[in-house]
Subunit: 295 residues, 2 copies
Amino acid sequence: MIDVFKQIVKNYALETDRFLEELFDDRGLYLSATLIESIKYSLFSGGKRIRPILCRMTAEMFDGDIDSALKAGSALEMIHTYSLIHDDLPDMDNDQYRRGRLTNHCVYGNGIAILAGDGLLTYAFNVLSKLSLPAEKSLKIIELISESAGVHGMVAGQVLDLEAENRELTLQELEQIHRAKTGALFRAAVLSGAYCSEISSEDLKALESFSLYLGLTFQIVDDILDLVGDEEKMGKKVGSDEKLNKFTYPRLLGLDKARQEAENAALKAVQSLEIFGERANLLRKLVYYILQRQF
Amino acid sequence: MIDVFKQIVKNYALETDRFLEELFDDRGLYLSATLIESIKYSLFSGGKRIRPILCRMTAEMFDGDIDSALKAGSALEMIHTYSLIHDDLPDMDNDQYRRGRLTNHCVYGNGIAILAGDGLLTYAFNVLSKLSLPAEKSLKIIELISESAGVHGMVAGQVLDLEAENRELTLQELEQIHRAKTGALFRAAVLSGAYCSEISSEDLKALESFSLYLGLTFQIVDDILDLVGDEEKMGKKVGSDEKLNKFTYPRLLGLDKARQEAENAALKAVQSLEIFGERANLLRKLVYYILQRQF
């Protein structure tokens, strides 16, 4: 059973890869080869495609439009990738390695890396303007994603994160940062998938709760892996958050308590899916898949 | 007559200011005060609001939806502003002053400036998802703007510009850079305004030609002003393009020939408007307004 699940996850990731590959296939469309090369370098550097998988699974669960879910998920992956490129810059986290490879700016220079991020973010909205859904639904997804990824969500979270360096945070503050930095885009992935179908407000509410707890699980696990993982597994310098004196869950709670918190969040994510019965089996498995990532 | 025109230009600019002010009014909506402060610093730093004015005038000319033209124009101004913030960064043009004030990163730091740009770009698409037009038309505007501002247009132009430093350019190459860097967003402003109404493909074609020649006029004038203007008028270090060994129209053609080229482009912009008769009077005046900016 677990193998079937892993195969599904792999297939969804591969379909995302294929869509993104095709997007950049026709080089005649683009004015700058450097820009496209730099974008592709980061877009195809071993990302797990969690957001597209999440979007796709939710759409499947409600018999939604799969083509649109694939595109919306891919757009979210483009946004996620741009945020990593900008986050790694010397003016931000100053990371030289990610997933075992040099970061974008280390290969292409800071200027091109900034522009590659800008290009990816803008292109994501171009992809979202061409979904196969009724126009009203496409607009709803664009509204959702632009809110989640911007000054109300992810970008604000990154500012809070930047400002939190070198100072003590409360658990509440740490959660606020992660809700904005990671949770908002997880939420957007789930709800975009739901918008690819018809969905009741009650179901939306349950999905929203699910996505926020899943985002929290993901983030705590990420913090733990950053602390205890080895370079090979994570592909980035272990302890890079420590280096910047960043506050993380294990630093704030200790490793055991942080693991406990991740499990609690995962449990709450699974509980949020209760009203969907068996239909939510894939999403349930995804929670444990994320929780068990390497520990 | 010229005074009535100037009053109209001023009013359209003020309405844009008002819309943008209101967008950031409710501070309770935002997680980070620093982010909003940094965004507002650049958004309200004396921009001429040419793109919103262009969008609005085109919409008026076709009796289009004015509220949507105001919002679309404001979104374009947000995109233009983000591009200036990123363009001024040390990793790009490294400018300390713009319009007589310190650039964003000099006040808020490079990290916040990068994020302020990211936030503005993302927010622009949120504004575009809430126009008062039929959903299909809103999507068309989002498609147009995301194409013009991204890897097919403005961002690609900035990469070409970055790569052109310290090397000789042909006139053709210079025009390609400017068509992408400035022209694409001018075109998007005009066509967005047109999409706020019903418009024939013949009219669209004429507007497209108009917008590209207007963009070219604007850019040549900008290059000339950068060379001959004084610091007070331009609000940035005169000759900053020279400093970076950037190729510009006056450098390539000499000052007199560059002025001639600007006039030629302006003439072609005006000629493109011929089929619209008197309805296009405001747009015609705008061409001369842009041409005569300080010389």
